[in-house]
Subunit: 445 residues, 2 copies
């Protein structure tokens, strides 16, 4: 590198919170009043065109400042790095961050510190895809198998996935990729909607939104369950009556149950033919999920939005604990670790149906599923990306849903960037919304 | 409660760092240069005698400020609570903290946020034991089984441990407890030492310290391994020659290996008859530990210092992945979760040999093992507490080692309190040590 090669010159972090709890949007059995939030990071460079990489961790309110502190702790690893090196090998950043021996103590590879690493790594991929003038899904799908395989950290998964196997899966995945990319651009990637099923919504709203979802072209909806069994029976019955027998209804307990409770509860709800039960218990309980799956079949078991890293996903697959693997774009260590997880799912032949919603999770994760379809799994059968119609207006390249499908993004990057106006409005505690809100409360008091 | 009942009136937090990396104390295969640190919390009350509860999370340097941010995030849950309520039922605090639906998103029950909860919960137990004028081990050992069983959160472990079973284990544990308490006060609890075996130490220092350990009455030592196999062969051979055949030598890889590497490496070192292999791979890899254990027997498998919570411990026991369960006082959610883990170990008949060292971990965890001996497991057979001779001088009630045994503490509380002078000196970045250190570096530059 010459002295004048462009570099990352600053890492700016933001605590952004939306007051979603006031409408019970996003309410479920474990999360009654979330304030959807983002610990947001921008990698600034001195590239002449003003190139930036954007990334974030999604949280639900309190503690977002702890995530920001974790982002700040990563700054010394980033400032001064040559942009060309970072873009040529994002794993160089990913491995340095997860390998920092002192920061590693705070996980390892889990919780606040790992989520912050994921945000930064995703910002690096945003940077790399923008510099290549491609949307991230295309950037990944057109990358060489050898290079993609090198982006994966095989530590702790080498017992089930070798670099050579990864290359083999990626080479197999390229067969027919051009046609699938064309199909993707024409049709999009199937989605399903959770917007009808929040626990805090009254039945008439649930029924209205469920019917609307079908009219909009969705073939799967999802209901939150797990707080009260008689409520769940009533709501599942109402939803099934509203959508008819041919629409898949997923149910989601958000970790509310112990193993035995999960089995008993799902067996009662089985009469409404739920397609999957999501997060029946702790995301850490590999053996518990396996026991539940054996007991509730043919209802499928899905989990992943809170699974901390590739090591737990590996075991969920080894133990036969999953029918549906739900990646989250912003919980694990970013694109690099999600590549590992997609490869593990491909090896075990388990379909990936991402978690999304929150703030910007739809925007991010669509790229990973589209890459998976075009250049790895090669299929959208039994694969759907969660869709929730919240907060997309804050993003410069928001998702577009057409007849129940995610339209393929065409703008360069990872679709991770928020409008500056949104940042200025919802920065906590000093954004214009929050200042006005406090003034209003004082006025009312 | 009357309006004048005493309350928690402030929660003070401190970022305390010791420059241990300069001596390679604590160096191992994953942590080459730790700066032993504490994210330290003091619960101040308006009790007339100045009652305070002290607790901390141990870290190894960078990121300690993120832990402090997490402690700060818990303050609103604590300030204003009546001291009598908190002391009568520490689980009321523990359950509120782990159950905060927004903070829970940052785990759940793992990583930075959970470690901060552990520090606060431990501070609550320090408060409760001090108010009862008993050292914590005695406070726990003399508590009613029903009350102790109520201190446990059974969520996600109810499939293997019910409240009734917990009460049964605790009632069984009380038989002969008075005699064991007397024995404990007379003899102490067996320890083992890691002070000889840090990876950064030259062989002559290792040999000298190993011989010294035997002379001091220890019957087990521990060596760090995993960076270089030929080094490990040489060091294990030197240590075995130094201590003879009757001293147990544990080896500790600090998560360095994949599953297959662990098996191969331990099979080579087996000629030196290691007693256990500690942390052979990721602490998250339950099935990996089970596979390693099957392959390396009769060498025992030990892990736990980085195990995030009771859910992973439950599975390690369910899967037959462990011969030795290593609790850590300051990684999981404090005394309440460690009670759950001790009960799980008792149910499965697996001996508990705590991780200690770092900053103050010996001071804390001795109380848990002593309770376990007096009132739960009823035995010290094959049970030893790790001992490392670092940094005890900073505590007001430091551990005392007598003929290889931890002497039973007699001062009220959890032995968690640091000298104010130590806090003032090693606060980062503004303590007197760090200010002088920066001034010295500037002078040298």
């Amino acid at each position: 590198m010459t002295a004048s090669s462009p570099r990352i010159v600053a890492v700016d972090t933001y605590d952004i919170r939306f007051p979603t709890s006031r409408e019970l949007d996003g309410s479920d059995a474990m999360n009654p009043d979330p304030d959807y939030s983002a610990a947001y990071v921008v990698l600034r460079t001195d590239v002449e065109d003003g190139l930036e990489g954007h990334g974030f961790t999604f949280t639900i309110g309190r503690g977002n400042e702890v995530q920001v502190a974790a982002l700040d702790a990563l700054r010394p690893h980033l400032v001064g790095r040559p942009v060309d090196d970072v873009c040529a090998d994002p794993s160089s950043v990913s491995n340095d961050l997860t390998g920092d021996s002192q920061l590693r103590w705070l996980g390892p590879e889990k919780g606040v510190m790992h989520m912050a690493i994921g945000a930064v790594v995703n910002a690096v991929w945003d940077l790399a895809a923008k510099r290549a003038h491609k949307p991230l899904w295309q950037f990944l799908a057109e990358a060489e198998p050898e290079w993609l395989a090198e982006q994966v950290d095989y530590r702790y998964i080498a017992d089930v996935l070798s670099p050579a196997e990864a290359i083999g899966l990626l080479e197999r995945g390229r067969e027919g990729a051009a046609q699938r990319a064309a199909d993707l651009r024409a049709i999009g990637y199937p989605g399903y909607t959770t917007s009808a099923g929040w626990l805090g919504y009254p039945d008439d709203k649930l029924i209205r939104l469920a019917k609307q979802a079908v009219a909009d072209g969705f073939t799967q909806i999802k209901l939150k369950v797990g707080a009260d069994l008689s409520d769940d029976i009533r709501r599942c019955g109402a939803a099934r009556a509203a959508v008819g027998p041919d629409i898949r209804i997923a149910i989601d307990a958000n970790q509310r149950w112990n193993v035995d409770e999960a089995v008993a509860w799902v067996q009662v709800l089985a009469e409404f033919e739920p397609y999957w039960i999501e997060e029946p218990t702790s995301p850490d309980d590999v053996l518990g999920h396996a026991a539940i799956r054996r007991a509730v079949a043919p209802v499928k078991v899905a989990t992943g939005e809170h699974v901390q890293n590739r090591v737990i996903f590996k075991q969920l697959l080894q133990a036969g604990a999953l029918d549906v693997l739900q990646i989250d774009a912003a919980r694990v260590g970013g694109v690099n670790e999600n590549l590992a997880i997609l490869l593990l799912a491909a090896k075990y032949g388990v379909p990936v149906c991402p978690h999304a919603g929150g703030v910007g999770l739809c925007e991010l994760v669509q790229h990973l599923s589209m890459f998976d379809y075009v250049a790895l799994s090669g299929s959208t059968e039994d694969r759907v990306i969660e869709y929730v119609d919240h907060l997309h207006e804050h993003f410069t390249d928001p998702v577009r849903i057409v007849r129940g499908h995610y339209a393929a993004p065409s703008a360069p990057g990872f679709s991770a960037q928020m409008h500056q106006q949104s940042i200025d409005t919802y920065r906590y505690p000093d954004g214009t919304f929050w200042r006005a809100d406090r003034a209003g409360r004082k006025g009312a008091a």
